[in-house]
Symmetry: C2
Subunit: 153 residues, 2 copies
DNA sequence: TTTTTTAGTTTGAATTTCAAACTATCCTGC
DNA sequence: GCAGGATAGTTTGAAATTCAAACTAAAAAA
């Protein structure tokens, strides 16, 4: 039981502390790079727009707001700013003029690639310290975390 | 290489999506419980104060602000509010009157215990899906994440 | 053709945060 | 001692972020 408790403390530490770090480091990484004038939130809006267009999962303003779990009003604000900064473009749908479709500009896609490479470095870094079996166990643990959260919604 | 890429995508998904959930669920969990009038930020201030007093790692305002990585001004604001709400107490140090030491009230400690039990549930939930070896691998993976973040500071 | 619904924007208020100025206290060197 | 600098915390003013609710325009339903 002693050992289990040690593991408990360590896991809790990681889940509490380490993952707060992700945002912080992500932010710092953004501030250092080419796209200083983007906040993490803005970067995530760009990312969501790029992903939606790649995977064709819906690039309407509503879709993006829903994916990011932010309100429509908040998205409008961010999108207006990002458009002014030249990262994304609004396009009114031809069939249904109520709908605004969102696209990244070249600059936006470039910012997204830079951001992706941050994630890529992070993930490959973790993977390199583990063998295949270890990766599988890590994923299994993270999966059960996800299940825990889904059941708590 | 195909398989490695699948793992990559899955890991990235967890690191990006799942851990954003922690804050959300934590927030929702708070709003449901006995201590509705506490934000996640406020809860974390209480938690930091309780932990600091348990472990005697420094309960000065400066120590707490540093542990939470927030500015002194921000902490002052939060502490004033939490004191008004009855969760914590300021005490001026006797030796050095510049120093403000922070303590949780009974109510504050009670809120902290409720919050701890949320974490406890979360962590034991993950641990229950794994055997000892699995837990060790999970921790190893998380550790390498932490190392990645520390090297990126 | 009305009425209702949907998509997005605007508005107004609340919250959160921080840097910088400020106050009070302590420490150092003369 | 005491002047000058350092330290702890607070206050202030401004910026950023967010959302609900009111609003506009367009589409769908009745």
């Amino acid at each position: 039981m002693r050992i289990i408790n040690d593991y408990y403390a360590e896991l809790n530490h990681f889940l509490v502390e380490v993952f707060n770090e992700i945002l912080r480091v992500e932010e710092a990484s953004l501030k250092k790079g080419e796209f200083k004038n983007l906040s993490v939130r803005e970067m995530h809006v760009i990312e969501a727009i790029c992903t939606a267009n790649e995977r064709e999962t819906g690039n309407r303003a509503t879709d993006i707001a829903h994916a990011l779990r932010i309100s429509a009003g908040t998205l409008t604000t961010t999108v207006s700013l990002l458009e002014k900064k030249g990262y994304i473009k609004r396009k009114q749908d031809v069939q249904d003029k109520r709908i605004i479709r969102l696209f990244a500009t070249e600059k936006g896609m470039s910012a997204n690639r830079a951001h992706q490479s941050f994630h890529h470095e992070m993930v490959t870094n973790v993977m390199n310290t583990l063998d295949i079996e270890g990766i599988e166990v890590l994923i299994k643990g993270l999966k059960s975390l996800e299940m825990f959260f889904n059941s708590n919604k």
